[in-house]
């Protein structure tokens, strides 16, 4: 049988963002695969050096489309660490609520993305409808639907609007009521189960070889290796939550973990609302105009747990009004490049989009 070259993406319903995986296929088995990025490259890292510290807040959420707030959080955290500034207690809790809401958004997106490789588009439509309601809530809090620019160095941009607590909690009560329906639709569906169970394995050795983090790592290694648990940021050490772990990582385990993490995120949000003190929500990073403040010399790596794993910025300041260098560690960089090259060969052609989705690859953060 002869080898055929096929392109998975950039225009493909199973592709997340505009990247292309070049597949060399024999029959319907992938023999060789390479991720070819560049179509989504917007030169963020160079661009950040040309913007002021505060101006960057408008730029960075665009690094990852499905989960923008992690960028704001790592940036704000890193700048605060270099400047050695403590932010108000209330801001930590608001940040946690925002971070968990955005994690749920990202998990919804990736659960919905199971629909295109399996042909069950209902999942996607339901998930997008729920995402839409959540974005309405974000609009009320921040004024923006997709890129919120809400978490800024020094705290959060403004106080939560009155009555938002009830709106958020009502939304989650309703959403929790529907989770069993989703589970019945996806995880008790024989068509999808046949595609997910014992398919697309990720052994622990591969995790360590590539440097995979997040759900992929926890489902293979069997330890709660979550940045929120290992090096807690914000106030994650004050709230109670479980991190699901397993020692057998197939596509099914990695997908069902997303549902469990959604439930845990809702638990964190409820606790955060209970524990949240009153008070200010931000402090000034420096006196005077926000566009002119400087950050003292220093460098740090700041990381958070995104929906796909450890997401971090390496920030260097030379004491001026603009960053000297910011490097982005996209959580899906290891599995997106080396993972596709080494471990996508061997899967069936129709499982390639499923591989891409359940391994948690987000192209914009790789290609930035």
């Amino acid at each position: 049988m002869s080898e055929v070259k096929l392109f998975f993406g950039p225009q493909h319903p199973g592709m997340h963002g505009n990247a292309s995986v070049h597949l060399y296929v024999e029959g319907d088995t992938v023999k060789k695969a390479r991720l070819v990025p560049g179509m989504l490259h917007r030169g963020f890292e160079k661009s950040m050096e040309n913007h002021t510290w505060m101006g960057n807040v408008a730029l960075i959420p665009r690094v990852c489309v499905a989960e923008p707030d992690i960028n704001e959080m790592v940036f704000a955290q890193g700048v605060e660490a270099i400047a050695e500034i403590d932010i108000p207690e209330r801001a930590h809790y608001i940040r946690m609520i925002i971070m968990e809401m955005t994690r749920i958004l990202a998990h919804m997106m990736s659960l919905g993305a199971i629909s295109s490789p399996t042909g069950l588009y209902t999942v996607n439509h339901w998930m997008q409808a729920d995402r839409n309601d959540m974005m309405d809530i974000f609009e009320e809090i921040t004024g923006h639907r997709v890129y919120h620019m809400y978490i800024v160095p020094g705290g959060v941009r403004r106080e939560l609007p009155p009555g938002i607590e009830k709106r958020i909690l009502d939304y989650f009560t309703e959403f929790e009521r529907r989770i069993p329906e989703y589970q019945a639709l996806v995880f008790e569906n024989p068509t999808i189960l046949a595609r997910l169970k014992d398919n697309i394995l990720l052994p622990a050795e591969v995790v360590w070889e590539l440097g995979v983090t997040g759900i992929g790592m926890r489902s293979a290694v069997g330890k709660p290796y979550d940045v929120r648990k290992v090096t807690p940021y914000a106030r994650y050490d004050q709230v109670e939550f479980e991190v699901p772990v397993a020692t057998y990582s197939d596509a099914y385990t990695r997908s069902i973990f997303k549902v469990i993490e959604i439930k845990e995120s809702i638990r964190i949000i409820r606790q955060a609302f209970d524990m949240m003190p009153d008070g200010k929500v931000n402090v000034k990073m420096a006196a005077g105009n926000a566009l002119k403040w400087t950050v003292p010399k220093g460098q740090t790596y700041s990381a958070v747990e995104s929906a796909r794993g450890e997401f971090g910025y390496y920030i260097v300041s030379d004491g001026k009004t603009q960053p000297y260098r910011i490097a982005v560690r996209g959580a899906s960089f290891p599995q997106g490049f080396l993972g596709v090259e080494r471990y996508m060969p061997g899967v069936r052609l129709d499982d390639a989009p499923l591989w891409y989705d359940t391994m948690g690859v987000c192209t914009p953060e790789i290609d930035r």
């Binding site: 990381a303 000297y324 560690r329």
Partner: protein, 179 residues
């Protein structure tokens, strides 16, 4: 960070001092330690760290210190068990920058090295793959993350500047285009 973890960290830091006297602890932020090391010690230290718990290479990144005529490479390792991050920083000269690959220690370094080669022009000896382009197709200028690369000048040179001369009708009906 608990006390027991602090003592583990102190013991480890003392070991590090004894074994690699040239490694200088530059900054200690509790769960993040930055070491400045010599390029010739890099592989030894990485191999030692990998065997003592730092099994994950989080990233490699470069910084261009143009005024000092140096590139800085930062190797970012994380130990999930202890929750301790180690940043190893090496400095190399800016002209004809070369450094040995670390793919034989951390396989995951392959694409980070390729990215750095593309954006800084640093050559990784032993990683043939890193010489190929990754994000930038047919790039024809200085590696773009070097500080002497000017994005505005490059864009002016590379792309035709378009000027629009809109003519407005009596009711302002002519198309309005911005340059």
């Amino acid at each position: 960070m608990t006390n027991s973890m602090n003592s583990v960290k102190a013991r480890w830091a003392a070991q590090m001092r004894g074994m690699f006297p040239d490694a200088r602890l530059k900054k200690d932020r509790g769960t993040e330690m930055t070491y400045e090391i010599l390029p010739r010690d890099l592989h030894q230290i990485l191999a030692y760290l990998k065997n003592s718990g730092w099994r994950q290479l989080s990233m490699i990144t470069g910084v261009d210190w143009i005024e000092e005529g140096q590139f800085e490479l930062v190797y970012n390792l994380f130990d999930w068990e202890q929750g301790l991050r180690v940043l190893l920083s090496i400095r190399i000269g800016r002209d004809k920058p070369q450094v040995l690959t670390i793919t034989n220690i951390y396989a995951g370094a392959q694409y980070y090295e390729r990215e750095i080669h593309e954006f800084f022009g640093i050559e990784f000896i032993g990683n043939e793959d890193a010489l190929k382009s990754l994000f930038l197709e047919r790039w024809d200028a200085l590696p773009p993350l070097r500080k002497d690369f000017d994005s505005r000048a490059y864009s002016d040179k590379k792309y035709v500047k378009r000027f629009y001369d809109p003519v407005y009708g009596p009711q302002g009906g002519a198309p309005f285009e911005r340059s």
